[in-house]
Subunit: 417 residues, 2 copies
């Protein structure tokens, strides 16, 4: 465990967060809910303050030549602030996982065993442009009894500072301890300190692109929950219904291309008779197709694919297409190139469905449904802090229970061994 | 993800294990159980072979001047081999976690959501002298559908080689894939390769002393489940029953001193009138007491304690003793010096018990019971691969369910967003 003095950029904030976490873990749900509701109200009341800070961020970013798509992610308006506040109010309505008894029994010797959910403690979040993550992440952490150490991007620093000022001032009035939400400096070095702050920080969650996640995983001695990279596949089996296959593939690819649960590669069984029509539908929807030789023979719009295409999370209107000999070859392809996010099969054969479901190692397997359903909201879990693509702790959408650990409480009456 | 060629010592084994994991995850429980039972039989049948290898290890270690206590941990005899085989048979009787539906629902749109337990994949175990871990770890991994990469100590390499030969030959006959259990070379460099084998290995579990665990946590880019270091406390409240306090403190300290759930520090409320008697009982049991000034004033046998004593997991007949002003001071002490393993309170006051339970952040909190109860066997979980002291994934005894991840299986009938 490092000394706080070894963390010049974040040490003071980490110590405050650690002290706050010891109080937060004991707060009743009502106190946390009242604070969240007050924060939502305060955000709406102080919208002008937030928008002024945001305008300065957007102006500076525009002056730096930031592309419009990124500016749009950075930009807030009154409606977006209201949406962020509404998301906090939705958290109020969700059940508090802290104190849930996950399992319990009375042992043969009379000891009472209960496994109880407790907060993780201090949660570090490293994220990119969108300022709404500041409020979402703080809200999820607080509802689950955790202190939040937020490290947002430099381009949103003024906005994040304004948002966190509203949150912390309101939190203090509502009885939450100082340090419950801390915004870290946006230097590159502050990420390094956060990743080395083992003993101060209980978990780091990166939310952003592949390079951010890769850095966090490589450098961190703090446990990490990896989120987000989704090189998702849709496999169309020989038994698939043509109309269903077309609807699912189109939806998985084109419904929203910039998200991790969008499909990137289409795998089609060689006996599928409707491959040309499927590729036409994609091409007509504006998708650029990168395919193997068989796919290219089936449709003139398909450009040649390389291994790079199988590996790429396009996040754009591009899709790789491979025709496979059989289902095992599709499974091989997914095992080699997939990122363990969401893998879909379209099939009518129960045997094919069972083989695919058993053979795919991913956070989510979708049977006759679009990959776009892998989402905390769609799953009915409420808000999510990301989608975990790792196998430890939590896999798939990370909701409130995934922001907790457990403690075994063992109650005896003088029991000894 | 590294290339297997970058892993000269373990790459081939890791590739075999990864291929095996894809088969193991689909095997029915019956197949796995039959293999475990056959392994147990084969170990007993081939005891002589194992003991011959073990005798060579023990002889070499003795010639190197290894202390008798370590030799004893290394040494096998027919009874110990039989115990190891019996532990495998106990695994047969435990429920298979793979395929368990952790939660399931039908969403409002008709999608069927099921969260299903799946194996982690390839589990790396790094452990020290005891050869029984080789068989225990392999058995736990196989029962939970995982391939095992075992990296035991150099001093037990002949024994481990003989044990793994019995296991793998029997596993192959029972229909398990090649690579299901792999013994890695015992070089120091093989640990480094294992810790960098992200993409080949899904989790690394260190079983051993603090320095091994520290190395694994610091170096590993593979996710780690931290186990074992237990600087456990017993807090005796002012409301404690004297006889109960004495029985629990003695048991927690002296029942077995070399284990992680043994108590190392005694914290006593300053209003406890029976402190001298409690210290006498410990001294008479042969415990060397390292105490603060108040403890030293209460009993002549107490030697002065320093911060080093609060920090030390003695694993011996030593105990640190501190007299605290109140329960919050005990919680402060535990938060500062504890390792998050097992913390006990002896008290009759419901308020004190509630405050302690809410305030301690550890894998287990024991109320009027010895710390020695934090154990997979005692909790009724059956075999354990260690006791996790981290907050992510699993905390406390690691049984079969803790060696699994989950996949969301989402079944629709053409669902799109």
């Amino acid at each position: 465990m490092p000394d706080a003095a070894d963390l010049p950029l974040i040490g003071a904030a980490a110590l405050r967060a650690r002290a706050a976490a010891r109080v937060l873990r004991t707060l009743p749900t009502d106190t946390k809910n009242a604070a969240l509701a007050a924060m939502a109200d305060a955000l709406v009341e102080r919208t002008d303050e937030v928008l002024a800070a945001n305008a300065a961020d957007v102006e500076a970013a525009a002056a730096d030549g930031t592309p419009e798509a990124i500016l749009d992610r950075l930009r807030l308006d009154a409606d977006r602030v209201a949406d962020v506040a509404a998301a906090l109010r939705e958290l109020v309505a969700l059940p508090d996982p802290v104190g849930d008894v996950v399992r319990g029994s009375t042992l043969p010797n009379g000891l009472q065993l209960r496994e109880v959910r407790v907060p993780l403690g201090v949660v570090g979040i490293v994220y990119e442009a969108r300022p709404n993550v500041t409020v979402d992440a703080a809200g999820l952490c607080l509802k689950s009894g955790n202190a939040a150490l937020l490290r947002g991007s430099a381009s949103a620093f003024r906005t994040n500072t304004a948002l966190v000022a509203v949150l912390t001032e309101t939190a203090a009035k509502a009885g939450l301890p100082e340090g419950s939400v801390e915004l870290l400096p946006a230097d590159r070095a502050s990420v390094g300190e956060l990743l080395s702050a083992r003993g101060f920080v209980d978990v780091v969650i990166p939310r952003g692109g592949a390079s951010l996640i890769e850095r966090v995983v490589r450098e961190s001695t703090v446990p990490v929950i990896e989120t987000g990279v989704g090189n998702c596949h849709v496999y169309v089996d020989a038994s698939a219904d043509p109309a269903m296959a077309e609807a699912i593939v189109l939806n998985a690819k084109t419904h929203r291309v910039s998200v991790c649960n969008a499909a990137e590669t289409l795998l089609v069984h060689r006996d599928v008779p409707f491959l040309p029509r499927l590729l036409s539908a994609l091409a007509e929807a504006g998708v650029t197709l990168h395919g193997d030789e068989t796919a290219r023979a089936a449709h003139s719009a398909v450009v040649p694919a390389t291994d790079q295409d199988w590996a790429t999370e396009y996040l754009s209107m591009d899709m790789a297409v491979r025709v496979v000999d059989d289902l095992p070859q599709a499974l091989e392809h997914i095992a080699r190139w997939g990122t363990g996010h969401s893998e879909a099969i379209v099939a009518d054969s129960a045997r094919a469905i069972a083989e695919f479901t058993a053979g795919v190692d991913a956070a989510a397997v979708l049977v006759n449904a679009s990959t776009r359903f892998t989402d905390g909201g769609e799953f009915g879990f409420g808000a999510e802090i990301g989608i975990s693509t790792q196998k430890l702790h939590a896999r798939g959408p990370l909701g409130l229970p995934e922001l907790t650990s457990t403690t075994y409480v063992v109650t005896g009456s003088g029991h000894v061994r």
